[in-house]
């Protein structure tokens, strides 16, 4: 190569700078025009691909959705909506290798708009996928208190519900209960949300809270069958059988096809009819119930022994089992039934029912769950035990 250098001829620096500035301005304008046209084309192409991606994601074809969102992003790399959708598709594809990428997209979006509730919710879901409780709580809270583009109250409630479900799934009972309390105080007047909250309270085994939410739902929609059935079931589980009977009866009346409520109602009524400790029944009725329970216990004991091949009436049983011991206790206590009428024997009902309860509990452990009157007696036993604690 051979080039010759031009002779240095001084020029006026200000004039040169003026010319350079004008040249830069003209070039800038030309490139602006070019980039604007290019961007418009790319954005149109990106929108088309984005729509394809949304359709694929809706059909749970996540690989196609991811490919389409990626292509859309190559057309419009700064588009937050595309990034968010890609991150969601990556997360929902159930491929743990893709979570990192989803997270990095979301963190980039979060850094730009930390108050964006949708981004925080997506990040919370990624953390939930990873099972990271602290991160999930952090981002769910950001989402709950963040900025929503539409229906903020409804979306905040839903985010809180999702957080509680995640915490319950992870066994973080204490944290879930704290969130439930917050949820209950902030729920908008929507029966469906109260129903959902009630289910969560029930999952957290806070039956009082669950019943309160079902009742709140019924206050706004008295004919709501799900709320009636739920209230009945919750009351049943908490041992509040009188309330359970009321709601379950209403649920069965509202929907006679509801076999579950019908069965629970039958058990509830059996409990109420068999419980000798109810305050409003007469002594005679109490004694009758104790006698019936005592006889039922013996029957259950015999059937259970037969089920496992044990002969309780044999003079020399092959081994001393719990059932044999209970049989002995039952036989020893049987003569006391005759003394039930005596007013002086005030603790006799407890003694006799204690034998019944022991038999019912032991047979559950040996022979499986009971039915009918045995189930009712077991429930009464559990309620008595809970009350004594």
């Amino acid at each position: 190569m051979s080039w010759t250098l031009p002779k240095p001829v001084p020029r006026s620096a200000p004039v040169i700078l003026l010319i350079l500035t004008l040249g830069a301005a003209v070039a800038f304008a030309a490139v602006s025009h070019l980039v604007a046209r290019y961007n418009a084309n790319q954005q149109a192409r990106g929108r088309k691909l984005y729509v394809q991606g949304l359709a694929a994601a809706a059909a749970a074809h996540y690989d196609d959705a991811i490919a389409a969102f990626r292509a859309a992003l190559t057309c419009d790399p700064a588009n937050s909506q595309y990034q968010l959708s890609l991150a969601r598709a990556l997360r929902d594809s159930n491929d743990p290798r893709r979570l990192d990428e989803a997270e990095s997209y979301l963190i980039a979006l979060w850094q730009r708009a930390p108050q964006d509730a949708a981004v925080n919710l997506a990040l919370a879901r990624v953390a939930a996928h990873r099972g990271s409780i602290e991160d999930a709580i952090h981002y769910y809270h950001n989402a709950i208190y963040g900025v929503w583009n539409s229906d903020p109250d409804l979306n905040r409630g839903k985010a809180r519900v999702e957080l509680i479900e995640f915490l319950l799934k992870e066994g973080a009972q204490d944290k879930a209960e704290s969130e439930l309390v917050a949820l209950a105080t902030l729920l908008p007047p929507d029966p469906a949300l109260h129903l959902e909250a009630a289910q969560l309270f029930a999952q957290a085994q806070d039956y009082a809270g669950a019943l309160a939410q079902f009742q709140e739902a019924l206050r706004r929609d008295p004919a709501n069958f799900s709320a009636l059935a739920g209230a009945g079931q919750t009351a049943y589980r908490s041992g509040n059988y009188a309330t359970a009977q009321r709601y379950l009866q209403a649920a069965v009346n509202a929907n006679p096809q509801d076999a579950s409520s019908r069965q629970l109602l039958a058990t509830t009524e059996l409990v109420l009819r068999s419980n000798p400790f109810l305050s409003h029944i007469s002594d005679a009725e109490r004694n009758r119930r104790i006698t019936a329970a005592f006889e039922q216990a013996e029957k259950r004991l015999t059937e259970c022994a037969q089920q496992i091949g044990l002969d309780l009436k044999a003079t020399n049983p092959p081994s001393v089992s719990q059932l044999s011991v209970l049989q002995s206790r039952w036989t020893a206590a049987k003569p006391d039934l005759a003394h039930l009428r005596s007013a002086a024997e005030t603790d006799l009902p407890d003694v006799l029912m204690d034998v019944v309860f022991q038999i019912e509990r032991q047979t559950v452990a040996t022979c499986g769950p009971p039915q009918g009157l045995d189930l009712a007696l077991l429930l009464i036993s559990q309620k008595r035990e809970a009350a004594s604690q």
Binding site: M1, P10, A24, A27, F28, T74, S104
Partner: protein, 589 residues
């Protein structure tokens, strides 16, 4: 309220505005402000702006070419993968051979040659040719990157501006690296790495004089690119971690593997390039087409990731989307594809392919290490990032740029220690197995010898202390009488003596001069009163020996003094001692 006329009068008579009564007056006043250094700095900003605008257009051209020829990614299928790179290769070959002969390869060497051989002259035609041909080659899927061409486009624009403005020869020589930094910074969206690369690879030596201009042009070009294309980073960086210092061993292993891969990559290019260039001219029409065909074949057989620059694939590797076997295969295939694309003479860069190979290799090595040592905490993304730096350090042999590039791209300083460790190992392995860095090798294959920062860095610099003779036994004092001084030199065999001046400084007097003064009856005078007033130049022991050359011809002895106390003599240098040191060195080398 004053009438307008009154306001006009007050402006005209104000001390500031009053000085500039006409535009001509304003310009002539401003002209005095713009001496050449200031003007060159301002010009650097304009170079950055124009280079940034050119790189924006270049990137759009690549994207548009890709979309037009290959279609958007999901729709890229079948015959296009073969046909497009091959046909585009034919067109590129014809353009290079007939219209733009100076645009083969990456452009880094040409820019360096412009600085050191062609007085900063890069024809503007080069920028046009590089723009068109590189956009066509990269957009059609050849396994090359846009960074090095951007560097050359920036340098070419700068050179054209410099020639149009008729700046001095000295500044024109420096203007190409200024444009190169602007072009590279715009392409990489990373101004620090661009500045460092230009210093390490293009200028080839540390030069404070040009640093300001290089930085200004790089920053202004990045501002332009971000204005138009946004500030989205090249990659979405995943969470990167470095927890236990013992994990550095894992990164050192990555460095060694990366160093070996760098050597394989560099040697394959170094071996094939001169052989393909030596083939008959007619074959040069088909070489880019055959390279395109091979790249298309690889893509068709299941690895379309190796086409083009491959930034999207690097992004996916960083997020653990590929299994280690596929990562390793991609690294090997990319070395093959880039080698054939580059040696075929297709214009395009090696930055992006280097990053790609490093990323895939880093991911593969990291995943394999985690299989054997599950307690390693570094994520795939961390190894991918470190791997990028490893190849940069090993293949391009720019250790400082490689570290800053990773930091700048990732924005994460947590991984600086793994990056430094891995890059050092890679550099050392590459250095020990391949003595000449790739860009120097390419330059030498083209018959040019250009300075190299690596050589300069490793060159033992001779210093004044290396040629220093011991302090002479006899030192005279300017405050003593001439007869006393004359008596002191009676038994001395030396011909020249140093004279300590008061209060500081040194002078020199010969044996004969002193005897003459004594014989002339000036024994009662002090020596200082008869010596010339100016003192002898002195040197410091740590100065480069080159600095002694200027004095040893004029003075038989030059004092070497302590920096803390210039009256304290550390030794002397003479012409013989300096020349002897240089001759010993030249014999050794």
């Amino acid at each position: 309220m004053n009438p307008p006329a009154a306001a006009g009068n007050s402006l005209a008579t104000s001390p500031v505005v009053g000085r500039f009564r006409s535009p001509r007056h304003l310009f002539s006043t401003l002209e005095g402000v713009f001496h050449e250094e200031v003007f060159f700095l301002i010009l650097s900003v304009f170079i950055g702006i124009f280079s940034g605008l050119a790189v924006v257009c270049f990137r759009l051209a690549i994207d548009w070419t890709h979309l037009a020829l290959l279609g958007p990614l999901p729709q890229t299928h079948g015959w296009r993968l073969f046909a497009v790179p091959s046909l585009a290769g034919l067109v590129v070959a014809a353009l290079v051979l007939h219209l733009f002969p100076g645009i083969r390869g990456s452009g880094v060497n040409q820019t360096k040659a412009a600085l050191y051989i062609y007085n900063g002259v890069i024809p503007f035609r080069t920028a046009v040719g590089k723009f068109i041909c590189a956009a066509l080659a990269i957009g059609s899927g050849q396994s090359l990157g846009p960074e090095d061409p951007s560097l050359q486009i920036g340098a070419s624009i700068a050179s054209a501006l410099g020639r149009w403005l008729q700046i001095s020869r000295e500044k024109l020589r420096l203007i190409a690296p200024v444009g190169a930094a602007a072009g590279l910074a715009a392409a990489f969206n990373a101004p620090i790495s661009a500045v460092l690369f230009v210093i390490e690879e293009v200028i080839g030596r540390w030069s404070a004089g040009i640093l300001g201009s290089v930085v200004l042009s790089a920053v202004s070009s990045v501002v332009i690119v971000r204005w138009f294309l946004g500030s989205e980073p090249l990659f979405r960086i995943p969470v990167t971690t470095f927890k236990r210092p013992t994990e550095l061993i894992a990164y050192a292993v990555l460095g060694i593997v990366g160093g070996l891969a760098s050597v394989a990559f560099a040697k394959s290019i170094g071996y094939l390039r001169p052989r393909l260039k030596a083939l008959p001219r007619w074959t040069q029409y088909s070489q880019p087409a055959l390279a395109g065909l091979l790249v298309g074949l690889i893509a068709f057989l299941g690895a379309p990731q190796i086409m083009g620059a491959g930034y999207d694939s690097m992004d996916q590797a960083m997020h653990g989307q590929y299994a280690w076997k596929f990562l390793a295969i991609l690294a090997v295939l990319k070395i093959l594809a880039t080698t054939v694309s580059f040696v075929s003479g297709t214009p395009g860069g090696m930055f992006a392919p280097t990053l790609f190979i490093g990323a895939m290799l880093g991911g593969a090595v990291g995943d394999i290490e985690r299989i054997f040592f599950p307690h390693l905490t570094g994520s795939t993304g961390t190894y991918v990032l470190v791997g990028m730096g490893v190849l940069f350090a090993g293949f391009l042999r720019v250790p400082m740029t490689s570290v800053f590039m990773v930091l700048e791209v990732s924005g994460n300083y947590e991984i600086i220690v793994p990056v430094i460790v891995a890059n050092t190992f890679s550099y050392l392995v590459s250095r020990s197995m391949q003595s000449v860095p790739i860009f120097d090798l390419l330059t030498r294959q083209d018959g040019l010898i250009l300075p190299s920062l690596e050589e300069e860095r490793e060159e033992a610099i001779l210093r004044v202390e290396d040629a220093m003779l011991p302090v002479p036994a006899t030192i005279l004092s300017a405050q003593d009488y001439i007869d006393a001084n004359a008596r002191r030199i009676l038994d001395s065999a030396d011909s020249t003596f140093l004279v300590r001046l008061h209060p500081s400084g040194w002078n020199i007097i010969s044996h004969d001069q002193l005897q003459t003064l004594f014989q002339e009856g000036k024994g009662e005078l002090t020596l200082g009163s008869v010596l010339p007033p100016q003192s002898l130049p002195s040197l410091y022991p740590d100065l480069p020996l080159d600095s002694a050359i200027r004095f040893v011809n004029d003075f038989p002895l030059v004092p070497v003094v302590n920096r803390a106390d210039s009256r304290q003599l550390e030794g002397v240098v003479s012409r013989d001692s300096v020349l002897q040191k240089y001759s010993v060195r030249s014999t050794r080398s």
